[in-house]
Amino acid sequence: MFKIVKYILADILKSRVILAYTIFLATISTSLYLLDSNPDKSTISLVNINLIIIPLMSIIFTTIHYYNSYEFIELLVAQPISRNRIVMSEYVAVTLSLLIAFMAGVGIPIILFNMNTAGWSVIYSGLMITIIFSSLAFLCSVLTRDKTRGIGAALLVWLFFSIIYDGLILFILFSFNDYPIEPLIMVITHLNPVDLARIFMLIRLDVSAMMGYTGALYLEYFGATTGMFLSSIVMVLWAVIPVTIGVKVFRNKDL
């Protein structure tokens, strides 16, 4: 498997898109640290990059890369190797390239300017968000044959988790606020990887103003230690489950 990963990864790392993404992230994070004398504040600003730009880039790039490699994947499927191996290589290579870009663009500046537990929590959730959205993108593209529809579905997934979901939670809160819905809200929070990543970072950063309702409730419900542990585990599930389904679908798919 590593042979295919090696070749695909080398190909992606030479592409201008990944290079531009890395430079973009590096410019933003370095300037955030240089502009503010208090590095903790800059780390807090980086939270928003983790929550908006990284999921968007991961999901779009993975989807487009899959469709652009379609003929090549077809050629690989005609070789004497198993489909699992091909499809996992494709996924691992794309995700690795995005992780490398993230580490170079955001990880290294954090390590240089503000290496503490808060910094690590931002790095961890950025890495997890990359893996999760790449995994979701992969599932979307395996499920849809048409390129435009696949990219549309991927964008919709991003929009749903980043923006629509919060609206839905607010709606539920207002409609059922006479009932004890806290347990329900806790379940719903785990169903959104972006919210989980946000809570995971903010528990360490200790900024109550940015916690929001779900974050505050989360902290009250589970406490800091259990909360961090639980949210990090659920994020791992979010990374593993979509790609596993994707591989299953791909195994019996007509290309």
Binding site: F72, L76, A78, Q79, R83, D254
Partner: protein
């Protein structure tokens, strides 16, 4: 070498292959022809394991092709559209495929030399023209000395000289007791190289004959005339 039994495939409601049974033997070059959308590429893709059939059986070199993937060691494949990752170099693609296939029997580098692939092996694939990419695909299909070769429109996009070189190679391999399956719309090309014709029409095999049988039956002198005759008749039916 390849035996296909009662193969059926639908895309949604549209039947593409309808109960196809076929027996293909080594030492022959089969031309798969038929109008657009008659199921040629789908049939090839099913043999290659790229598309899964709804029902039916396929045996390749004695093994069941619907389970496992090792049987594909016997097949060299040249796709209709060659598209490779943009920044990969020609040499890298060749090395990648070499690393994925068994190397025990050595490599057939005849096309690699005749098409002078070594001169472009440092170029990224994105910079190559369609025809040059087609040459790389052809070279890859023959490289692994596979006893079965599946070539989907091999001469499309090639210049006349390269097309002739490729045809000569196909002829040579068919003489070396291999099974070659070719699809093309350029019938004069096929007439030179093939021994048998399989004609697909709306997912069914209309006939499977040698070229001389067809010429005799249609009382024509060339394959293109014969096939035109058959297509005209079958559209009247």
């Amino acid at each position: 070498m390849i035996s296909i039994g009662q193969l059926c495939k639908r895309y949604g409601k549209l039947p593409v292959l309808n109960n196809i049974s076929l027996e293909l033997n080594a030492g022959s070059c089969i031309s798969l022809i038929g109008p657009n959308a008659s199921g040629k590429t789908t049939l090839l893709k099913i043999i290659l394991g790229i598309v899964r059939p709804d029902s039916g059986t396929i045996g390749v070199a004695g093994t069941n092709a619907l389970e496992g993937y090792r049987y594909r060691e016997n097949i060299g494949y040249m796709p209709q559209i060659a598209k490779y990752p943009d920044n990969m170099r020609v040499g890298q693609v060749i090395n990648l495929l070499k690393s994925l296939r068994p190397s025990g029997i050595g490599y057939d580098e005849e096309l690699y030399t005749t098409f002078r692939i070594n001169e472009i092996s440092n170029k990224p694939l994105r910079s190559l023209s369609g025809g040059t990419r087609q040459k790389v695909s052809a070279c890859l299909a023959f490289m692994f000395k596979a006893p079965i070769l599946i070539l989907d429109e091999p001469t499309a996009g090639l210049d006349p000289l390269s097309a002739e070189l490729l045809k000569a190679k196909i002829k040579k391999e068919a003489g070396a007791d291999k099974l070659i399956i070719v699809t093309s719309h350029i019938l004069s090309d096929l007439e030179d190289i093939s021994t048998h014709i399989v004609y697909l029409h709306e997912g069914k095999i209309l006939f499977h004959e040698t070229i001389s049988e067809i010429l005799k039956r249609t009382r024509t002198t060339s394959l293109s005339l014969a096939v035109a005759e058959i297509m005209r008749n079958s559209s009247h039916v």
